[in-house]
Symmetry: C2
Subunit: 131 residues, 2 copies
Amino acid sequence: MAEDVGILVLGHGSSKPYNKEMVEKCAQLIAKTHDGPVRIAFLNMDEPNIAAGLNSFAGTGINRIVALPIFLAHGVHTLEDIPQELSVDPTLRRGSCKLNGTEVEIRCAEPLGVDESIAALAYRRATEALE
Amino acid sequence: MAEDVGILVLGHGSSKPYNKEMVEKCAQLIAKTHDGPVRIAFLNMDEPNIAAGLNSFAGTGINRIVALPIFLAHGVHTLEDIPQELSVDPTLRRGSCKLNGTEVEIRCAEPLGVDESIAALAYRRATEALE
């Protein structure tokens, strides 16, 4: 994707460190592929929160942000809480924010969802549990 | 894996239908690969619950159950709630239950965790959001 697109990788957050670690490492892997800036933010408990995550793109020169939930499936968090935190229309799943006085488009990506790669990874975890 | 191993695919559960749909489809994909029985259960809100999920292996002739959490990372659910519901030692992450009067071993698999396949799928979702 173009370098004027920022990706805001969104995690659920947790009282334990593992969700944040997972989201951070996932963002690092995405940053290897993506030409634009990649940032992280969390809905609950971990920092930065979503407002701080949006602000962390200030000065990067991006024109668009994709809010990318690292969630397995849609639910209250992806359909209601994240659009609300981003001040994005929950039906259109797009909106905008101001960064350094410039209007920046925001689009909400879908959660991971069903995919053969998830099933294959899960089956690998099942196999490892018997080793 | 051997056909005497049952896989109990575990979801978080949700007030909306999407987590259950995701877990069901994931279990269907796993069942295409696995020679033994595959069942589902949910920690919260959706049915069957974990006790009912364990009982659903009755009559299948399995000797072992892998409890496979379809969760992205460890947290309170995978480290505390699921072992408690399975009556499994939370440190050893293994234990047993009785099915039709026969002792059956239970092992808890790790959550999905960080993997290049998750990052690649997430990046695909980000790309789709700009289409």
